[in-house]
Amino acid sequence: MPTLTIDNQTVIVAEGGSVLDAAIALGIVVPHYCYHPALGAVGACRQCAVTILEGSQKGLKMACLIPAEDDMQVSTCEEEAVAFRAQVGEWLMTNHPHDCPVCDEGGECQLQEMTIGAGHGIRRYRGNKRTYLNQDLGPFVAQEMNRCIQCYRCVRTYKDYCGGEDFGVMGSQQRVFFGRFKDGPLESDFSGNLIDFCPTGVFTDRTNRFRTRSWDLQQAPSICPHCSLGCSILPGGRYQELQRVRAGGNRLTNDSFICDRARFGSDWNNHPKRPREARISGEKVEFPYALELLEERLEKLVEEYGGETLRLLGSPRASFEANLLLKKLAEKYGAPAPYYDAHPRRAFAARMAASIPSGQLASLKQLRESDLILLVGVDPLAEAPVLALALRQAARAGARIVALDPRPLELPCDFEHHPLTQESLLRGLSAPEENELLESLRQQLETSQRPVLVGGGELLGGEGLRLLLHFSESCCGSHDCLIFPVLHGPNSFGGGILGATGDSNRNLIEDLENGNVRALICVETDPAIEHSEPGRMQLALSRLELLAVFDHLPTNTVATADIFLPTRTIYECAGTFINNEGRMQAFDPVLEPGIPIVVTGSGGHPPRQFETTPPGSAPRSAVHLLQWLLKDRNDLFGLRRQIIKELPCLRDLDRLAAGDNGRRIADCGDTLEESRTEIWAQEGELQVLPITARYGSDLYSRWSQSLTSRFEEPSVWIHPVEAAERGFVNGQKVVLRTVVGHFHLPLVFKAKMARGRLIVPCLPGTPLEVFTPGGLSLPCKIYSEVDNA
């Protein structure tokens, strides 16, 4: 670790760090554009000049390209370097338009900051400026090429880092152009990162143009709610409207990148149908009244029929604190411990993941640094997009990636794919020594330096994850083979921790059907969509005497609730999520709840209503509601302290701050839950596997209007050989018959999927929404539409 001196201040940097890294660590401003910690140095912009006074290379040098050395003496103040930096500023500005006052980047423009930092103020050039025609890059990213300073960060982000294949740099000299071959929407699932990485206003968020100047935004560090990875985000909004999401920085998880689902899928928060008032049997009522009524009815019910007849359902969407309070509520009323996922198989997977010793769990950072990654039953782009980015970084550094999965996987990097069915995967894992492929992989894992096994909870279930853990233990003689479980939601892992003590053999749906349950409280979950058998669940719910729902999404269950209480979203309250690797991460509120002023003011001037509270501001956080029922007066900090006392493995919970890197849970010391028997269907007959679609399968993207352009058309996928055996052609209309219904769908050939299976992506707002991913494949029949008639 070299120790060097910059402007008479001494600093130690990591091995391989540059002089620029050292300056940044000291807080010394050396303006730079092409260098970015996540992208590395290429020495193109020439803005970062400093003077090396002592060192193996002396004189004026680019700080990003010079490795820090021991005893190096660096100055950023030598006249020559200062003058040169100002000159580079002038060069870069010769063609830059004078549009700062109206530029969408204004207020958060690195170019502005660094030009001033470089000491350039007055442009002497009076000639013409080069201008460009812009491209239409689709609904997410707007382009304004005249503002480009040719730092090449965009291509390096989109193409090199994210693996996008439809964006590049064209032309040469002073006329290089960054864009697509032809106009059209950017294809990468990570296209929005262009917005964060462009240091000026070339690429801006189209979904948020012309709405707010950046300095007027309310922002707070938060955690992405779309999947289980827990990427850091920085949402911003104004006038009660959540307007945009940028990537936060956490080098242990997402580094500086997020997926488009996270970035452009936040407007569910402002959904026009979002329920914002308390309701009793569908009628709007005052908030306190509904809450008091709920308490009254619960007490009566418990008194009359006993706590046994009350059930509580938490969720991976709800904060850890809310889920914990739910458990307390169960205790208070003598009800059985809550469920933490309406989908029993997902819940089991989460419990299994939570029981993996924390030292055996990998972070995304460790994944990026791995040399051999085995993906088992996981489709990163659909279930955990930023995982795909991490895989790409590992592959770029030379790692091998091997995937075992029935789906026709795509990844932004080279990988080996073995399309095994879900059943053969599970069977293989249960006896890996008898499986040639797994046995050879085991040997390779053993000889690699930093292997990681990635397991998909949806496909493998808890049982599969347990088998995977055993498999990993059999691979690590001298070193660890880490596990990276992929779960369903942002707090699935937290639910797994809380659920571990519950009785795993209870079955909500059967209890509902048997009439053993009279009341159910659902916190931020919609069992009617999320349970593996939605139709059956819906019917079961209708038998309840009391269905109480706390939520913020306009779900059907909300509409049918006897008592409904609107909750705040993660953008409107503080809390904690525990991600798939057991990292506790805090989020802070960005906005107060309320109907956006664009709605109440019909797009014009804010309405002149004279009320003490803004319209739509009734929602309380789920934590608040539960605390009210529990008569618990702790603030969030007090609550966390209380949690630590009960769950020592969360001992760092009270040291979290939103925007930090989060903290891993300590080993909970739980023993692995004994597996229950899964019915592994027989091979051979045709079965259909419902899978997570890239957009729309998680409840938040389902209600994000900005994302609808990305939703796929419903279809059923088949292996071409399988189709040929049955005389089907690609694109043909077929009828798919299953226990959940009959569907008329086009048949799409996918050469890279498993044989013997059909696959349907579960898509909201289409007939296919009755399928829920996360289960086993279902028996089915398929006919051509003509035959069927």
């Binding site: 294949e165 590049g168 740099v169 032309g171 697509r180 071959f181």
Partner: protein
């Protein structure tokens, strides 16, 4: 309609692409072949090259737009590159350029309405000893005078008819 490339040439390129360890090294060969055959490289040409090489079109476009002798816009049958670098320029290159513009009635960068000639300024053609010089397609002409130019144009016009 004129084809981008003959089928047998396409097949040959495809075959070679399969054999090569780094098929991308053929990208300039491919673009040049398409240009020789089609006269210039339209979008479809970039897409064809990308398909043969097994890369997305942008990868080809990034390269195609870098080189000035790959025409990514339609040019006349005889693209005339007029050298404007030092050796030609100090020996009358500007007069040559002015004369051509006047004779053909077009400006630099434009194409004659009969589709025969496009005037393109270019850097040094490697004919510094024979300045001033131009290159028509890949044919080099040096030691030019205005009269000589008129003859060349007339010849090319004849060639085009014949």
């Amino acid at each position: 309609m004129k084809k981008l490339l003959l089928k047998k040439e396409i097949d040959a390129f495809r075959k070679k692409a399969q054999k090569l360890e780094h098929p991308r090294e053929m990208v300039i060969d491919l673009l040049r072949a398409i240009q020789d055959h089609f006269g210039w490289v339209p979008d479809a040409g970039v897409e064809l090259a990308a398909d043969i090489l097994g890369v997305p079109p942008i990868e080809v476009e990034e390269v195609a737009t870098f080189y000035d002798k790959i025409y990514r816009q339609k040019v006349g049958r005889y693209p005339i590159h007029i050298c404007d670098s030092i050796c030609c320029w100090i020996r009358g290159g500007e007069e040559i350029a002015a004369h051509l513009q006047q004779q053909l009635g077009i400006k630099l960068g434009q194409t004659t309405s009969d589709g025969l000639f496009t005037l393109l300024p270019t850097c040094c053609l490697g004919g510094c000893g024979r300045a001033p010089s131009i290159m028509v397609g890949k044919r080099f002409y040096g030691h030019l005078t205005c009269d000589g130019l008129d003859q060349i144009i007339a010849q090319l016009r004849e060639e085009a008819v014949g």
